[in-house]
Symmetry: C2
Subunit: 399 residues, 2 copies
Amino acid sequence: MAFQPYQASMLALGQAPSVIRETFEYGNRRAQEIGRENVFDFSLGNPSVPAPESVHDTMRRLMDETASVLLHGYTSAVGAEPVRKAIADDINKRFGAGISAADLYMTCGAAASLTVTLHAILCPGDTCMTFAPFFPEYRVFVEAAGAKLTVVPADLDSFQMNLPALEQLITPETKAIIVNTPNNPTGVVFTEENLRKFCDILRAKEAEYGHPIYLIADEPYRELVYDDKTVVPYLPNLYDNTFVCYSFSKSLSLPGDRIGYIVVSPKMQDNRSVYAAVCGSGRALGFVCAPSLAQRVVAENVGKTSDLSVYRRNRDLLYNALSEYGYRCIYPDGAFYLWVQALEPDANAFCQKARDFELLLVPSDSFGCEGFIRIAYCVTTEMIERSLPAFKKLAEAYR
Amino acid sequence: MAFQPYQASMLALGQAPSVIRETFEYGNRRAQEIGRENVFDFSLGNPSVPAPESVHDTMRRLMDETASVLLHGYTSAVGAEPVRKAIADDINKRFGAGISAADLYMTCGAAASLTVTLHAILCPGDTCMTFAPFFPEYRVFVEAAGAKLTVVPADLDSFQMNLPALEQLITPETKAIIVNTPNNPTGVVFTEENLRKFCDILRAKEAEYGHPIYLIADEPYRELVYDDKTVVPYLPNLYDNTFVCYSFSKSLSLPGDRIGYIVVSPKMQDNRSVYAAVCGSGRALGFVCAPSLAQRVVAENVGKTSDLSVYRRNRDLLYNALSEYGYRCIYPDGAFYLWVQALEPDANAFCQKARDFELLLVPSDSFGCEGFIRIAYCVTTEMIERSLPAFKKLAEAYR
């Protein structure tokens, strides 16, 4: 084989234009031309509400009270024990899940939670599945771990998990399935009924194939639900072979602090060996330990969230207005995304057209599903209010 | 092939006892038995001097002055532009290296700098080399990137790079060589003469093989040198196809904050493609971006260091005393390690014997070299003073 000066797959990833990023950067250029206030950028899933005051209070107190070499020192590779204890206690209080500190592995955020988990379990020849539409980095992470991603097509009516299609596509090579609820990009929360049926299918297939099928619950949006009746079931309570991949990026508005965790369910088959493989994976990928100050900050702020009422107000405003203008919106129970059917079959063309009205939307194709758009409503309510006439005119342009 | 519930290699890594960690934990148990003040733990390479005051000043000011969603938001995947600019300016001021912000990629510390670089360039069938004795995680990182590590045996006289052995072992499959100066575990700084000869060999082999051989300069200890005359040459100035993998863990005593960077030399062949491969690699491994607050903190503290005079005092004290007691010590110009010949051929047996005197030392075997021990002198000067009689008795026990 000819000499390759670099990994071709990594070059491709590094050069691949992300539609989301490209849209965001178009927005920045456009803002320079016509003024920031005239551009309605709904491209990025960046939290738009500040971290709770208590986060900075904690940071200041830690700096005042903790010796520098401790505060800024390495923690154990799995995370500081008191930190894991505080998080486990909170999980158990909320979900009665019977998690202990020894089941938790602190990470540098949601992406790291996923890559560390995937590298711990996936072997060459394995398949990992997920449900469309899905966060496009899943493909990147699964393939970097040497496995194949199989995408279950979307249920275009409900955007719940498409279980008949899952049953058709699952094979003995399926080692893991990533489930993301509340969902990015749709904002849909999978119902308990949908999840219970899903777990029943997995258990039946585990029995049939004679090996575990891991459920990887990717749930950075767990706390971002807006109706009191909405329940996001805790998956380790429904299915034994579950990993929970969590991040505080959205709940505490700390995406830049890179802090999250993995739960290896205590009920998982070979729990201690799988947990050790997670440790080995984090080590091999170069994570060393999760940021130590951020570990202590989240431990002292467990159970708190940013003021999420802004997102709820934004959701209601957008959902009601766009529905009124004739758009088909999928009702979002959570996250901070609204999933809307494009007004022509080609979502990319629709998003280009929307730019004529200075609306920056993300087409659904990169999420593994055609004909929809994602609106990230983690923006100011005031921007949404100003954008509504543009959404109205866009709809009228298709009449 | 039988179903594997997890990656066997990751399980092995997760379960592998680290001698350093095991020694440290023995020390903690022993401290409970006989009192912390009676245990002389020289096992861990954790900075023992606080971060500069200005680090906390910067953090407090950033919290006061910067909007939460900016301060705690994602930065660009490669790192915030002003941060990279500040670091590039500092590098250029000190080394005249002609680095620009576009050549820098911010990382979550030294380990991440290495794994991201290695995954960017290494392909199956490639070999990466390093010089014994070496930081044992190099093997983990290289093998996780799908390549083979070839270790060049130590020069047991000088502990400079053993260049005749390199010339014998280098092959057309050699894609990269990791160089660590100031060195962990020896504390040795490679001389400019040694480095220049090394680069000449690489250039000759590049010409012979017809492809680049990357020099990966792992230099978290760059600022930890103790004699005014000691020069640590900046490798991009000596060799074009150079990566610099850096971390602020040691210079600013911030190991827990997980912050470092990669320089892809602007003179590197295919610089822009290699840089893009680095970006792809960071993305695939799940790094997203380096911690945002830490990025800003180091940018505002470039060129500063913790008070490194403590390490110098410790080095002088230990080196002089142990030499006087009859130990053969390799003179350390930098880092915070003293490399000492064991008083019997088996360094593990020697370290066990040392425990009789409550001295916790790390045997050299895990660094790829037999018959020596590493003393991490990033401890209090007062502990070193109290430990000296124990070192003396240990030497006497071998008379």
